[in-house]
């Protein structure tokens, strides 16, 4: 069976499974729709949270990102896992005890303010839309790479699938499909990683293989993998793989700020927080935070190992080879434009960080543009202007054709596409075709599970917080459910349109989502639980100051060429400063304004009490005997 046939089979089977689960878990009330009737067991919620959290980017791009970044790639590993500690210790149990349906619910009730609720809803919906656009695009990309379907058709298929199971089952349907999606994606990720670990180091555990010496008939046998990688990187002119703080962009302060911003942002992301509303008890909320991070760590501890293995093996198997000697996977992925080779005329491939680099990627360029560039490059080689002899360089102006390497370098397209690290690993490890197909199903599972969780946040934000709590508090249960379903439908379509016509600044906007979550939600949720003194006005001012600062810095820096004046902290890391601004403004203003009402103070006491304590208000009345 061909790889393509296997891919159709796996993708088809997994989609049928998701549909079946959706049909089995359809719901009839808003409790089921928003929080799965609070009946999800802790371990299942852990899996669902893990699938919800690990997006197309975690699955397809993260290992590749780490393999080019080396040590600095740790900011994503630590940032996207460390946030769960904050979530488990500071937020999840208390928000579960509070009950209700959404994050804006807590903010609105705790701070007794419609404005606070409105700001929270707008942030939640914005963050989720930013994220979901990337997921829909991810679905399209997986379809186009593995099945040679047009990206837009892929996006539409993805939209249809999510639409069915999200509107039918709401949170309940989403939860149980996410559980299934977790297993699809983790299996797809682990098998190639284990295979390549055994091939290179003889160790079945990639985490151990990463720190082991290389074995077998590979170059550098007997040397520790990471030492060998450092040598290769030094030879090719790249920064050391394991040495920290090698580039000015990733200095110590910036690494610190980006890590902290991602951690705090993770803890403040609404689609992750709401998952903890779905379990039965507070104890289960604590346990499910543990299960979630354990399941997430299965991928996050493996990704850096895959990154190191694949980088080493990729370079070893292409460097200095002629076109006949290149491995088969190179030809396969050359077709998709993830990796391109523009020779300088010596017939041997050279990958380096210097100007003599011959390995590129097509990036946003179309097939026609690449073909044109390649034929001009061929003409340029044939004309002899490419000769290694520097005296011949001047000839290039007078001969036909053009050095394609120069053009691609100017466009910033040096080196292979980072996604190739995950996508080509099964072929590098010489696994059979069905494993490659499994990667496609895994990538789709990762994208769809995250997309559905985000769509639910958008739906509950609009239908519950905006419509029911602010616009029409008299709405009936049936009407609210209908509005929720309609909102999810509209949200799917909008997300799909973003996927088909991606805004050119998706990467920038993702930094924005984390910065916003870090500077808006996290401080005011933590203070809302751990302080009985912080009142409405300081909290709303702090939230607006945090958002305002972070938004102005990111927009100014990314779109208007404003220098990173704040100690050189990048847009990704500025959420840390935004969070400090929020805390500082809120706590600074608190002494000048009145504390929250006794009702709210009782509510805070109630969420702080051990699990089975009766509600604070009931105790008050009972004591008046």
């Amino acid at each position: 069976m061909s790889v393509k046939a296997w891919t159709y089979l796996f993708v088809g089977l997994s989609f049928c499974l998701y549909m079946f689960i959706a049909w089995r878990s359809r719901v009839r009330d808003t409790g089921g729709f928003y929080v799965a009737g609070r009946g999800v067991p802790a371990i299942a919620n852990g899996m669902a949270t893990a699938a919800d959290w690990m997006s197309a980017a975690s699955f397809i791009s993260m290992a590749g990102l780490i393999s080019t970044m080396g040590y600095s790639g740790g900011v994503y590993l630590m940032g996207w896992t460390g946030g769960y500690v904050l979530l488990a210790l500071l937020l999840a149990p208390y928000l579960r005890k509070f009950g209700q349906f959404t994050v804006p619910d807590f903010i609105g009730d705790r701070y007794e303010s419609a404005i606070a609720r409105l700001v929270a809803v707008l942030c939640a919906v914005f963050i989720s839309f930013v994220y979901v656009a990337g997921q829909m695009r991810g679905v399209g990309v997986v379809f186009s790479r593995f099945l040679e379907v047009d990206i837009n058709v892929g996006v539409i298929i993805g939209m249809a699938i999510v639409f069915v199971y999200a509107t039918l089952g709401g949170m309940k349907g989403i939860t149980w499909t996410q559980v299934a999606q977790y297993w699809v994606l983790i299996t797809a990720f682990l098998i190639p990683a284990i295979a390549i670990s055994i091939k290179l180091t003889g160790q079945p555990l990639p985490q151990i293989g990463m720190g082991s010496p290389l074995v077998g008939d590979v170059a550098g046998s007997g040397m520790y993998l990471l030492d060998k990688l450092n040598l290769i990187n030094a030879d090719l002119g790249f920064a050391s793989y394991t040495e920290p703080f090698t580039s000015p962009k990733w200095g110590k302060l910036n690494v610190f700020c980006v890590t902290l911003a991602l951690m705090v942002g993770t803890a403040g992301l609404p689609h992750v927080i709401v998952r903890f509303y779905t379990v039965k008890t507070v104890a289960a909320a604590r346990w499910s935070a543990f299960w979630a991070l354990l399941f997430i760590s299965a991928l996050y501890l493996t990704a850096p190992a895959t990154a190191a293995f694949a980088r080493y093996y990729m370079i070893e198997s292409i460097q200095g080879r002629s076109s006949e000697q290149l491995p088969q996977w190179f030809a396969n992925w050359e077709e998709t434009g993830l990796i391109l080779w523009l020779d300088d005329g010596d017939g041997k491939l050279r990958y380096s960080a210097r100007n003599d680099n011959e390995v590129f990627r097509s990036g946003p360029l179309s097939r026609a543009e690449i073909a044109e560039l390649a034929s001009a490059h061929q003409l340029w080689i044939n004309s002899g202007a490419s000769s290694v002899d520097p005296r011949n360089r001047g000839k290039a102006a007078t001969t036909s054709g053009a050095d394609g390497r120069l053009a691609l370098r100017k466009k910033g397209l040096s080196g292979p596409d980072r996604d190739i690290i995950v996508l080509a690993t099964p072929e590098m490890a010489e696994l059979s075709g069905w494993i490659v197909a499994l990667i496609a199903a895994g990538g789709l599972a990762a994208a769809l599970s995250t997309a559905s969780g985000l769509l639910l946040v958008i739906s509950s934000g609009v239908a519950h917080d905006l419509y029911f709590r602010l616009i029409n508090p008299a709405a009936s249960e049936a009407r609210r459910l209908a509005v929720s379903r309609a909102t999810i439908g509209v949200a799917v379509v909008v997300a799909g349109i973003f996927g088909i016509y991606p805004p050119g600044f998706v990467a920038e906007v993702v930094a924005f989502a984390f910065g916003l979550a870090a500077s808006s939600f996290f401080p005011i949720l933590v203070l809302g639980i751990f302080s009985k003194r912080v009142g409405t006005i300081p909290a709303v001012s702090g939230m607006l100051a945090g958002i305002g600062f972070t938004a102005a810095y990111i927009i100014g820096n990314r779109f208007f060429g404003m220098p990173a004046w704040c100690f050189g902290i990048s847009a990704q890391g500025i959420g840390t400063v935004g969070m400090i601004v929020n805390f500082a403004v809120t706590l600074g203003l608190t002494p000048f304004f009145s504390p929250p009402s006794t009702q709210v103070q009782d509510m805070i006491d109630r969420i702080r009490e051990p699990e089975d304590a009766p509600p604070a208000v009931a105790i008050e009345t009972a004591s008046e005997h």
Partner: protein, 92 residues
């Protein structure tokens, strides 16, 4: 607050103490060993890894998982103890 105010505030103090302790470990392992001291730890070898690199890409995550496990066990125990404590006290 109410009749069992002392039980509740005892419970809350124990909870906050534990939480602050665990957060200190969190900051030390992740932001400390993984980032702030990573260049110092880079000279130490841990098997085939430079130690700073290992913390940033492996160690910190393992510590994070362990921290949540400790918190879940300890707090659920604390909950149970206080639930029993309250049940034994005569109701007002």
């Amino acid at each position: 607050m109410g009749t069992n105010g002392s039980t509740s505030s005892q419970y809350w103090r124990a909870n906050v103490r534990l939480m602050l302790g665990l957060l200190a470990v969190w900051a030390f392992a992740g932001l400390g060993c993984g980032v702030l001291f990573a260049d110092t730890l880079a000279d130490l070898r841990f098997w085939g890894f430079p130690l700073g690199f290992w913390f940033a890409q492996q160690g910190a995550i393992v510590v994070f998982v362990a921290l949540i496990l400790v918190y879940a066990i300890a707090l659920n125990r604390l909950d149970a103890r206080h639930a029993i404590g309250r049940a034994q006290k005569p109701q007002v």
